[in-house]
């Protein structure tokens, strides 16, 4: 395999409450179950390496506990490096970015996220551009411009710090089917890039192949995941609290377990010669270790044979 691609995994583990469990056998006997296999960073990072990942993407909502355990970002990064794992990036959300009066606040939060990610040694700030559609949409032209303006400013700061800001649009986001492409056009291509979440754009009703071909020069990284829902109805995407379904329906599946044209898309990625981080995002999976392994197998053994 050539080495154009580095594989990362988005950290959707919930709070990992231990840094390292040294008394693993004793601890196992307390419950005699598999729960202790999922409670320390030492093992979680070992799983990353063992299942073929080079990196981890951090979730900002985990940072209070991570910093509680590791004290500083550098210590976490060094611990991960000891396990052969790099921090590839971090997620960020630009809540209230469509509101002009909130511009300063939103940009300040974005800059702070850039600083945090830099301290962890990461490269990609994958950024949800705004709030949920429900309660905020539809956006007028002004609202969309406000979002673009926030992204441009944060992006400029990020670029100056060696960080790539990538727009990560979600299917229930205020920027949605009717204007998510327009948002890309309104942002500065020099400093605002795109993190293509393969499932999210399809859930919105877009064509992932066409989207990739149109914006391949803007795409700096991927959230690679599958879905079995091709184009979700407006009344669902625009409703309240739709990310988690009442009946347990899953929007997202491990690559290869859904219906996306992954091989076709990957061929386009290969043709374009993309180089960099591809992050698998297994949100909603019941067993992350199994999901990580399944996803890695697909990425490396199915897609990797086409291009890596």
């Amino acid at each position: 395999m050539a080495n154009h691609i580095k594989l990362s995994h988005m950290s959707h583990w919930k709070t990992i409450p231990y840094k390292q469990i040294d008394n693993f056998r004793d601890y196992y006997y307390e419950d005699k179950s598999n729960s202790c296999y999922y409670e320390d960073w030492d093992r979680i990072l070992r799983y990353h390496k063992a299942t073929g990942y080079d990196g981890i993407e951090l979730a900002p909502w985990d940072l209070p506990e991570i910093l509680g355990l590791f004290k500083t970002p550098a210590e976490y990064t060094a611990f991960a490096a000891d396990h052969g794992i790099e921090v590839s990036g971090m997620f960020h959300g630009c809540d209230d970015s469509h509101i002009a009066e909130k511009h300063g606040e939103v940009v300040a939060a974005g800059r702070s996220a850039v600083d945090t990610l830099k301290a962890f040694g990461g490269r990609h700030l994958n950024t949800c551009p705004g709030n949920n559609y429900y309660g905020n949409g539809p956006l007028d032209a002004e609202g969309l411009k406000n979002i673009a303006s926030c992204l441009n400013e944060i992006g400029e700061y990020a670029e100056g710090n060696g960080i790539k800001l990538g727009i990560h649009n979600e299917f229930f986001c205020v920027t949605n089917k009717e204007n998510h492409r327009q948002l890309i056009e309104l942002t500065d291509p020099r400093c605002v890039h795109y993190c293509l979440d393969t499932a999210q754009v399809v859930l919105m009703g877009d064509d992932v192949i066409d989207f990739y071909e149109t914006y391949k020069d803007r795409i700096c990284t991927f959230h690679w995941k599958d879905t079995a829902d091709l184009g979700v109805a407006d009344e669902i995407r625009y409703a309240k609290d739709v990310e988690i379904c009442d009946d347990g329906h899953r929007w997202f599946w491990e690559p290869g377990e859904g219906c996306l044209p992954m091989v076709e898309l990957w061929k386009r990625v290969a043709a374009h010669g993309f180089k960099g981080w591809v992050t698998v995002e297994d949100d909603g999976a019941p067993d992350y270790l199994a999901a990580m392994a399944l996803s890695s197998y697909y990425m490396k053994q199915v897609l990797g044979k086409i291009y890596w």
């Binding site: 005699k32 179950s33 598999n34 067993d287």
Partner: protein
């Protein structure tokens, strides 16, 4: 009717998180507490023949293991009583388990029913000590296994079926002396599957052997389970409640893994009670109308989450009784 919780809820053979733990005694100790905590005072235990491999583990799934761990079935009953379980109402035995043990024991197929008789009597003696009422037998191994064993020779398979009936009559006669009833169940992959039970019952002495209908097994085999339950409720000493949504469109019953269909859209056969498609309200009413008042063996077979399956079983039974009482009013 008396609710009896089946230990068949535990699948100790198939992969799953923590599956290997199920061979240990501590696991079954706590299972006992959990059934008691959910309000069950009587249980059914599926037992396999005594073999070296099974006897040495801590699960009470063969008489040898029970004797090793508790001294005797009576010792096991004392232990259960202390935990809040009053009786082992039934022990299940299965010709499939007998067949599976041949590889280890080396018993030739020609002596299959001698071995099955011994296995049945050993279980029945234990059951008598456990103050139980019912030996529940599944009379033949799977069709897929028999097709392989007899290389598709249908005459030999038919002889085997008849021999199984003779064996049931023989067991039925013998266990009466122990104060135990022999009931048979017709699992959907066996030679008396579905409506074939009607023919099979003609080979049996109704004084010695009764039929315990099970809606899921009848349904999967394509029989009208409500009709058969109504027809046989009068003679039944016990009934089995198993739930399913499975439709055997690919004839999994003919394969050597009928409970784990290799093909088809649905690959899961059993569902926790109350989560499948069986009309248990209708079945319960039909049993009441027929005057059936015996033990109902609640079998959330191979549950994917045992504590949850136990709690669901309690919810299921409470609802059933409540719904029926509501209709009566």
């Amino acid at each position: 009717m008396k609710a009896v919780a089946s230990y068949g809820i535990v699948n100790a053979d198939t992969s799953g998180p923590g599956a290997f733990l199920r061979a240990a005694k501590w696991y079954w100790d706590e299972l006992t507490d959990m059934f008691a905590a959910a309000g069950f005072t009587s249980v059914m235990i599926p037992m396999v023949p005594n073999t070296e491999n099974v006897s040495r583990n801590g699960a009470p799934i063969c008489t040898a293991s029970v004797k090793t761990r508790f001294g005797s079935p009576a010792g096991y009953l004392r232990y259960l009583n202390e935990k809040g379980i009053e009786s082992v109402e039934a022990i299940g035995i299965s010709a499939q388990s007998m067949y599976n043990s041949l590889f280890e024991t080396g018993l030739p197929i020609e002596r299959f029913f001698d071995g099955f008789y011994d296995y049945a009597m050993d279980a029945a003696e234990a059951l008598a000590e456990l103050k139980g009422s019912t030996l529940l037998a599944s009379p033949t191994p799977g069709i897929g296994f028999l097709m392989e064993q007899f290389r598709g020779d249908e005459a030999k398979i038919e002889d085997f079926r008849k021999s199984s009936a003779e064996c049931m009559n023989r067991i039925g006669e013998a266990v009466r002396g122990l104060g135990v009833n022999l009931s048979i169940r017709n699992e959907y992959w066996t030679l008396m599957r579905g409506a074939l039970i009607e023919e099979y019952m003609k080979l049996l002495d109704p004084e010695k052997v009764s039929f315990a209908p099970d809606p899921a097994h009848l349904f999967i085999a394509g029989a009208d389970y409500m009709d058969i339950i109504r027809k046989y409720a009068g003679q039944a000493k016990t009934v089995c409640f198993t739930d399913t949504k499975f439709r055997d469109e690919q004839e999994a019953y003919r394969t050597i893994s009928p409970e784990f269909p290799q093909d088809g859209a649905a690959q899961r056969v059993y569902w926790d009670l109350g989560f499948g498609d069986m009309d248990f309200d209708g079945i319960y009413a039909a049993l009441k109308e027929s005057g059936f008042d015996g033990p109902v063996l609640l079998d959330s077979r191979y549950s994917l989450d045992i504590p949850k399956g136990i709690l669901r079983m309690r919810t299921f039974w409470n609802r059933l009784e409540k719904n029926y009482a509501g209709k009566e009013i």
